[in-house]
């Protein structure tokens, strides 16, 4: 689904990502873990095509196509979705109006209002979102939890091929985390890949990843199966220095 080869990325003159190589396969769930400020979000933004993140070397392949120089619009239309850590407020644009617009773009045709309303209701119920939420302005004055649920609601309706969830667990209480995790699991299918970016292993107790990448200082320093999560839970990220030097 997604393949990153020898990727170097700079932001405002500072090199953040160094020599990143990874492979995301269809039908699997991945976790990218690591301490704060280590380049996890940079990786997410780079895959989504943020204009401020400059690729200095390497390439990104999505569904076999080199997307390194494509606009965020094109990447989204190909099926990449990023759930933001801090989704920005868009005043004056209602949640429902926005969702309908992006669904039409994703489908390449206008969805009927009745079908849209039915789908919206169904997904909102799963996420335990109140009905009047759809009439509010997008991310405008939302609580942290509402923002995160709104991101997952978009994911549910867009059915992307690749979903990158950037710190989707941060700022969620235990109930909201359970609801969000269950929703993500329901959206997941064998046609889809999910990348969960997280500092903590907490969410990984709800959504079990098939494979883990661990990042530090802009590099991938470890990768492996679920046992890596348990190891991090017990030992934190301190031991990574040693791994790093061993690599």
């Amino acid at each position: 689904m997604l393949r990153i080869e020898d990727l170097y990325v700079e932001v405002e003159g500072r090199e953040i990502l160094k020599d990143i190589n990874l492979e995301i396969e269809r039908g699997k769930i991945y976790a990218v873990m690591g301490p704060n400020g280590t380049g996890k979000s940079t990786l997410a933004y780079t895959i989504a095509g943020h204009p401020r993140y400059k690729v200095n070397g390497g390439r990104i392949l999505f569904k076999g196509e080199d997307i390194t120089n494509l606009s965020p619009t094109d990447r989204a239309r190909m099926g990449i979705f990023l759930a933001f850590q801090y989704p920005i407020g868009i005043p004056g644009v209602t949640v429902a109006g926005f969702l309908k617009t992006i669904m039409n773009i994703r489908r390449g045709e206008n969805i009927s209002l009745s079908k849209f309303n039915r789908l919206l209701k169904e997904k909102m119920d799963i996420l335990e979102i109140e009905e009047d939420f759809a009439r509010r302005y997008l991310n405008d004055g939302f609580s942290g939890g509402e923002r995160k649920k709104c991101e997952i609601l978009q994911m549910a309706l867009l059915e992307p091929d690749l979903a990158i969830l950037d710190e989707i667990d941060s700022g969620l209480d235990i109930d909201a985390l359970r609801v969000v995790s269950n929703s993500v699991k329901r959206i997941f299918s064998t046609n889809m890949s999910i990348v969960i970016i997280t500092h903590y292993s907490r969410i990984l107790n709800y959504i079990e990843p098939n494979f883990i990448y661990v990042m530090k200082n802009g590099r991938i320093v470890a990768s492996g199966g679920r046992e890596l999560v348990n190891f991090i839970e017990e030992n934190g990220y301190e031991w990574l220095e040693e791994v790093d030097s061993k690599c």
């Binding site: 204009p51 606009s71 619009t73 990447r75 989204a76 979705f81 920005i88 868009i90 004056g92 617009t101």
Partner: protein
């Protein structure tokens, strides 16, 4: 981010200049006498005009606002009569005029969602119709020239009482040369619950349009009036200088919506004012998209206890445009309230100025006013200023004033493009969102039109 904009002005087409009568270029007593003569007006109106002309001559050009130095009063035609007789149906009109209004969608709007309509072409109203249902309830909706002939007592009683000729140079000019405009009388307790609309079209080059609108809403009545305006694109200037006077009596409510979309060679210098009596409500909803220079400050004089004013405006200024618009609320009685919301979008070197006044008199115990001005600036060359004046003569009142200037941020654009919107769609969505609180106050059809215009304004401009 935003490169040069090639604006597509959809209403810039023009008809051949045909007319049955036109005064000679320029302004003089003689021209005014001629206008009055051709209209076969009563002596009192002829005198009203001539006195106003003296005021116009004596007043200097306003120098506190936009640049008017290229407006040449001697290079304009002040009165152009397009047809001999007004049509009773669209079919009665010459085909070129009928086609123009067809292209503007006016007859269709009349059929679909209006209680009545008036269409003005150059200086005269060429078509006017009020649906029977309202006529039978005593509602009057005619052009103001007809009102002078058929309802002289009402016109005489009210004209110039809300906006006297002495008010400013352009109200004096309008009073001297006015022609057309709407006269509306809503009897006590009558609710005209679907809108009346007037549409103003300037076709000729170097033309002045000076409609005069007078609205009287008797006690407990309701009216929603909409005006729209367009003109062809010429390289020389045209002038639109209207006066609108509204009297809103006890417990009545008048909502006045404007979608002004003049071409970019039109000077739009307009005086609009309402008197609001006890427990009445006046709403000015003002969309300014076109014109070269607009000076327009819809005002409400809150004369009666508990009267309310809502002043909502949106202004767009693109290349070569200066929108100097705002609103005024004068609190002259206890427990009156005003709410002013102004939103402006500047792009391609366009300039928006918010100019407003809130005055709270010593008599206006317990009054409330809230002012909010938000400006969105789309590029480095564009400009936005606010000139709010607030005068308070009473301690027992509440007043709030907020202003913001914002830009479309990279983060907002990235968020939207990461969902599949392209740059143009993302910008248009952000702008629509910015003005949404005001657009939603327009009737549905006009809100759709406003949103469509925003997209046109942006098209071809974003790389």
């Amino acid at each position: 981010m935003l490169d040069s904009i090639v604006d597509e002005y959809r209403y810039g087409f023009r008809d051949p200049e045909k007319y049955v009568f036109r005064t000679k270029k320029g302004l003089s007593r003689e021209v005014i006498e001629e206008i009055s003569w051709i209209k076969m007006e009563p002596e009192w109106m002829r005198r009203f005009r001539l006195e106003a002309y003296e005021v116009f001559v004596s007043k200097p050009m306003p120098s506190w606002g936009p640049d008017l130095s290229e407006l040449d009063f001697n290079d304009l035609y002040y009165y152009i009569k397009p047809v001999e007789r007004k049509g009773n149906s669209w079919e009665d009109l010459p085909s070129y005029i009928r086609n123009t209004f067809e292209k503007l969608g006016i007859p269709e709007a009349e059929r679909k969602y209006l209680a009545g309509i008036s269409a003005q072409y150059e200086s005269e109203s060429v078509y006017n119709n009020l649906k029977k249902r309202w006529e039978s309830q005593g509602v009057i909706f005619v052009d103001t020239d007809t009102a002078v002939r058929e309802y002289p007592e009402l016109v005489k009683e009210y004209i110039g009482t809300v906006v006297p000729p002495q008010d400013n140079k352009f109200s004096a000019l309008n009073s001297a040369v006015w022609s057309g405009g709407s006269f509306i009388y809503v009897p006590k307790g009558v609710h005209v619950d679907i809108p009346l609309q007037a549409y103003f079209r300037i076709n000729a080059q170097n033309a002045g349009q000076f409609e005069r609108t007078l609205i009287i809403a008797e006690e407990g009545s309701y009216l929603h009036y909409i005006e729209g305006c367009t003109a062809p694109i010429y390289s020389t200037s045209s002038l639109h200088s209207a006066v609108v006077e509204i009297i809103v009596k006890k417990g009545a409510r008048v909502r006045y919506s404007t979608v002004q979309n003049w071409s970019n060679n039109v000077y739009n210098l307009v005086t609009k004012r309402a008197f609001a009596y006890e427990d009445s409500i006046v709403e000015w909803i003002d969309g300014n998209l076109g014109s070269r220079v607009s000076m327009k400050y819809p005002s409400v004089y809150l004369y009666g206890k508990g009267a309310k004013a809502e002043l909502l405006s949106i202004a767009f200024a693109g290349r070569g445009q200066h929108q100097d618009v705002g609103g005024k609320a004068l609190h002259l009685a206890p427990y009156t309230s005003s709410n002013i919301i102004s939103k402006s979008v500047s792009k391609d070197g366009g300039r928006n100025s918010y100019r407003g006044l809130v005055y709270i008199d010593s008599l206006a115990e317990g009054s409330k006013s809230s002012i909010r001005c938000d400006a969105l600036i789309l590029d480095e060359n564009s400009r936005s200023d606010t000139y709010p004046t607030i005068k308070v003569r009473n301690k027992n009142i509440s007043l709030s004033h907020e202003a913001s200037i914002s830009k479309i941020t990279e983060e907002q654009l990235f968020y939207l493009t990461s969902r599949g919107l392209d740059n143009l769609e993302a910008n248009a969505m952000l702008i629509r969102g910015f003005i949404e609180p005001i657009v939603k106050e327009f009737p549905m059809e006009y809100a759709v039109e406003l949103n469509r215009l925003i997209k046109i304004q942006l098209e071809g401009s974003i790389g």
